[in-house]
């Protein structure tokens, strides 16, 4: 299957310069927040980091199609690019990282990366891999039952397509033409297991077996992802059913702060992919198209740096929840 790259300029995709700047800002913000998280971990302040680095293009490109407050997102643990695009803040990220009371995802009950926001229609996530897919299918079914044009975007890594839940959801979505977009961020590694031992054949081609379109796309080309996702969202809104998008990207960091990736991959491989860094490529596009120049870029960079520093300090000084809070909220009240 041919990998789709940007086939059109941004105007043809219906994006204006403000959109582009916004996309760029969120990709860079996600990157910088993530970098700071690693530093906090190495300083012993954050117990656990799980990164988005390298996947910002796939995330922002796809999620940019979500209508806030209307569509639903089922992210997986790397999708901080998406959650901040939808409205979570750098402070939220660090509060979650440090498990503080104000953490919007869980009040410090969950590890970082387990996003949740009812207000932003981001579903609460957990650790078992793949459970989000049947849930996303159910959420899409509800839209269909009420004749609404809401869309559900559900995401996971390539390893999440190995488990039964993904297949059950794909099958169900195909039977009922559900308005769900399956985004698989194939970042080549599931902890240490490379895709060649994870995936038989092609992920994108499986959609055909379930009766709907599947596309492979250059996951590090934000506009290419945007384009293919835009089509997919359009299909879903029109009641034409689900789409599978396999975004080919790469995990630039180890699986998490508890993983030493030198045990299973070569530095050279990482360097090869660094040349295809989605942020660098997009900045090149922006500069070539006169949307951004060096000084603007530096200014944005500085602004983001300050934002990140402020957010980090805020979270570091924020209080933990009371220990007795542990007992609260097991059941919802009527």
């Amino acid at each position: 299957m041919a990998i789709r790259e940007t086939s059109a300029g941004h105007e043809a995709l219906g994006l204006d310069e403000d959109d582009l700047r916004r996309m760029h800002y969120h990709m860079l913000l996600a990157r910088r927040v993530d970098e700071r998280s690693w530093i906090l971990n190495r300083q012993g302040k954050a117990a656990f980091v799980i990164s988005c680095q390298g996947q910002e293009g796939a995330q922002v490109g796809a999620a940019y199609n979500l209508r806030p407050g209307k569509d639903y997102l089922y992210p997986y643990y790397r999708d901080s690019g998406m959650t901040m695009l939808l409205g979570q803040t750098p402070r939220d990220q660090f509060l979650s990282l440090l498990g503080k009371k104000e953490d919007p995802n869980s009040g410090g009950r969950q590890m970082p990366g387990h996003f949740s926001s009812r207000r932003l229609n981001i579903l609460t996530s957990s650790a078992p891999v793949g459970v989000q897919y049947p849930q996303a299918a159910g959420t899409a079914l509800a839209f269909k039952m009420r004749g609404e044009d809401g869309v559900v975007l559900v995401c996971g890594g390539e390893a999440s397509t190995s488990g039964g839940d993904w297949h059950e959801a794909m099958n169900f979505a195909g039977i009922h033409d559900l308005p769900v977009v399956f985004l698989v961020e194939n970042n080549v590694y599931a902890i240490s297991v490379p895709a060649k031992f994870q995936v038989a054949g092609s992920i994108a081609k499986r959609a055909e077996g379930y009766g709907f379109p599947g596309h492979e796309v250059d996951g590090n080309d934000v506009l290419a992802v945007y384009e293919v996702a835009r089509e997919a969202f359009g299909r879903a809104r029109a009641g034409e059913g689900p789409t599978l998008i396999e975004a080919k990207t790469y995990r630039m960091t180890a699986h998490s702060s508890d993983d030493d990736d030198r045990r299973y991959r070569e530095r050279e491989e990482i360097e090869e992919w660094r040349k295809k860094d989605p942020i660098v490529r997009f900045e090149k596009y922006l500069m070539e198209n006169g949307v951004l120049d060096e000084s603007e870029r530096d200014e944005i960079s500085e602004r983001i740096k300050a934002e990140v520093a402020e957010a980090s300090e805020y979270a570091e000084n924020a209080p933990f929840a009371d220990p007795e809070d542990v007992l609260v909220g097991v059941y919802a009240e009527a």
Binding site: I39, R42, G44, A254, S257, D258, D259, D260
Partner: protein, 442 residues
């Protein structure tokens, strides 16, 4: 040393990336650190001048250990101070209190008593467990025990209809109800006598409580004791008499024999077995002291079951030496030792505390020289043995120093008179005074 990863407990500085004396910026890599999960660069958490590395390259230290001193601009450096050495406060050795008079009619300090217990209990240090059948009969069930204690009733005295003869809740509830009814029923002709002797039910006037007063609610045990003592005093007109006993010979005998006895028999030789033996033999001669008042008759008991009062912190308990007249001195010594030990350990069964016909009390162990005990109702009499005190005494018109012990008897004046009481007391006295250093302790 930061914690680099969950469950990591230590780290190794593989390489310092700066030198002592260098300036370091915030977040600038300071060292390479190796753990069993990851290998990473450590970004400096502060900006300043590196004063000293506290850990050398290649060393492994626990998470949390100080690894470097950096002088941050504007702060004076404070060298790490050693924690003050821990002070060991020596626990005070518990002081053992012995009765002022130094008698050992009962083993003296409770502490030593308990220590002895531990040494003696079973060969492997664990006591024997009673079997289910026995426990069903003696301890029944929680609710039955509770009702028994609340009403001062003994489980073993109630007929049981449960498994293996167990007293069920219904059985004990029925029994208690019956008892209350029986107390109301009076045989014809005795009613007037009863009314003449019984005090009218006092109107219960509550006592006011003032600020600062401490109110203690009655425990089941306290209430039971209160009821028994009141009943005893109310029903039996108590009279009392006393004799002085010269136990110098007995004391000398005990002094001579106690080591050998302890070695031979494995228990201490106290005064109590001697007293009990004397009491038992005297009761044989004077059986009216071993009897019970029953409305219109006196029942002289055949069996001589001597109760020995044991004072526990929160209770007064009277374990019974059944058929005490069948035991010799050594047997009595053993039995007393066993009962007292089990009493203190709260291991007495109902059979151990029932069926007594006479009671021996030993306030002498706590230093008393005179006391007026309350009869252990429904017995006819109780004997108190007081402390053994060295006193100046007149013998053959000369003053001698002798070991003297007072013996008193409180008795139910309905059953017997002072003469009988004194005849009995003197018999006991005679026997105790007959001991000398050469006597046989068989």
């Amino acid at each position: 040393m930061p914690q680099l990863g969950e469950s990591v407990t230590e780290g190794t500085i593989t390489r310092w990336l700066k030198a002592e004396g260098d300036e370091v910026a915030i977040d600038e890599p300071l060292a390479e650190v190796d753990t069993d999960k990851v290998n990473a660069e450590l970004p400096s958490p502060v900006a300043g001048k590196i004063e000293k590395f506290l850990v050398s390259e290649g060393s492994t230290v626990d998470v949390g250990t100080e690894i470097a001193l950096v002088a941050v601009a504007g702060e004076s450096d404070s060298p790490a101070s050693d924690a003050p050495p821990q002070e060991n406060t020596a626990a005070d050795a518990p002081t053992e209190e012995f009765p002022a008079s130094g008698t050992e009619a009962q083993p003296a300090a409770q502490d030593t008593e308990r220590q002895q217990e531990v040494a003696h209990a079973g060969g492997d240090g664990r006591g024997e467990i009673e079997d289910a059948e026995t426990l069903r009969l003696t301890r029944s069930s929680p609710v039955v025990r509770r009702l028994a204690e609340e009403h001062g009733v003994e489980i073993t005295e109630i007929p049981g209809t449960g498994t293996g003869g167990r007293v069920t809740r219904k059985d004990i509830e029925g029994y208690i109800e019956e008892q209350e009814e029986r107390e109301e029923y009076a045989p014809p002709g005795l009613q007037e006598e009863r009314e003449a002797f019984e005090e009218p039910e006092p109107e219960i006037e509550r006592v006011p409580v003032y600020e600062g007063d401490r109110v203690e609610d009655l425990t089941g045990t306290r209430r039971a004791i209160a009821n028994r003592m009141s009943a005893s005093k109310r029903q039996a007109p108590h009279a009392w008499t006393m004799v002085e006993v010269d136990v110098s010979g007995l004391a000398a005998l005990r002094e001579r024999e106690k080591a050998a006895f302890a070695e031979r028999e494995g228990i201490n030789l106290t005064y109590l077995p001697f007293i009990v033996e004397a009491v038992v033999e005297s009761l044989r001669e004077h059986p009216v002291l071993n009897s019970v008042w029953d409305e219109d008759r006196i029942i002289l008991r055949k069996r001589i079951n001597v109760g020995v009062a044991v004072d526990l912190e929160d209770a007064l308990i009277v374990p019974v030496i059944a058929d005490a007249d069948e035991l010799n001195l050594v047997g009595l010594a053993r039995k007393v030792d066993d009962l007292v030990r089990r009493a203190r350990a709260r291991q007495l069964g109902t059979e151990d505390i029932s069926g007594g016909t006479f009671t021996v009390n030993n306030p002498g162990a706590l230093g008393s020289v005179v006391s007026t005990p309350i009869i252990n109702h429904p017995q006819a009499a109780i004997l108190s043995a007081e402390a053994i005190v060295k006193r100046p005494v007149v013998i053959d018109d000369a003053i001698a120093v002798r070991s003297m012990m007072n013996l008193e008897v409180s008795f139910d004046h309905r059953v017997l008179d002072g003469g009988a009481a004194l005849k009995f007391l003197n018999a006991v006295k005679r026997r105790l005074e007959a001991y000398g250093p050469e006597s046989d302790t068989g």
